[in-house]
C-alpha cells in the first residue's frame, strides 16, 4: 500500500515537473479537448505532445476517450490529492522560514532607520 502510494507520488510529481504538461492540465481544467487542440498553442510536433500526454495518462492525471481517430482528453485531478497531502506535511517548515525572513527584513529596516536620520 505504502509502496503503491510512493510509486503514484513518483508519477504525479514527475508528470508535474514539466511546463508543457502543467499547461496541458491547465487547458484541460477549462474543459475536455482533443490532441490537435491541445497541441495548437505549442511550437511542438504532435509526437512530442503525444509523449507528454502519455506521461500524464500514466500518472492518471488525464483520461483518453477514443472516438474513431479523434482522441479526446479530460482532466483527472484525483492523484493530486495525495501529492497535495504529502507537501502539506511541510507547511509549518515553509511558514517558519517565511516568518524568519520577515523578521530579518524588519531588523534590516530598523538598522537602516538611524542612518537615514543621520544623513538629514
Amino acid at each position: 500500500m505504502v509502496k503503491c502510494l510512493s510509486r503514484q507520488l513518483d508519477r504525479t510529481f514527475g508528470a508535474l515537473a514539466d511546463p508543457t504538461r502543467r499547461r496541458i492540465l491547465q487547458q484541460l481544467s477549462k474543459g475536455d479537448s482533443c490532441v490537435t487542440e491541445l497541441a495548437r498553442p505549442y511550437a511542438m510536433s504532435l509526437p512530442a505532445i503525444s509523449k507528454h500526454l502519455r506521461v500524464l495518462e500514466k500518472a492518471g492525471l488525464i483520461c483518453r476517450r477514443r472516438n474513431g481517430r479523434v482522441h479526446r482528453m479530460n482532466l483527472e485531478a484525483a492523484p493530486m490529492k495525495d501529492a497535495s497531502q504529502w507537501i502539506e506535511e511541510y507547511r509549518r517548515f515553509w511558514e517558519e522560514s517565511f516568518d524568519r525572513l520577515g523578521e530579518y527584513l524588519k531588523e534590516l529596516q530598523n538598522k537602516e532607520k538611524p542612518n537615514v536620520h543621520h544623513e538629514k
Copy 2:
C-alpha cells in the same frame, strides 16, 4: 517572473518525484544531518546519495553547510509553498471526482439491497 517561477516548479516537482529524495526530506524534517547519516538507511553508495542531494540542493529544498570534510544538510521547505499553491488550484476538481465516486458507490449499494432481500 512567470518563467522563473515555472523553472522553479520544474525543479521542485522534479526533486519530489523520487522516493529516496522524499525520504531524505522527511529525515531532515526531524533535524539537520550529515551525508553519512543520511546515507545510512539506504542500500546506496555515497556517490548515489550525493547525486540525490545535489538535485535537492539545486531545487533549493536543502541547504549544505561545510565544516571541513563534514557536510551538514538542513531542510529548506520554502520552494514547496509555490508547488502547494499550484496543486491547490486543482482541489475543486479532485474533490468533485471523489464526490462522484462516493455517489456512484452509494448507487451501487442501493442497487444491491433489493437482491439481498430477494435472496432471503
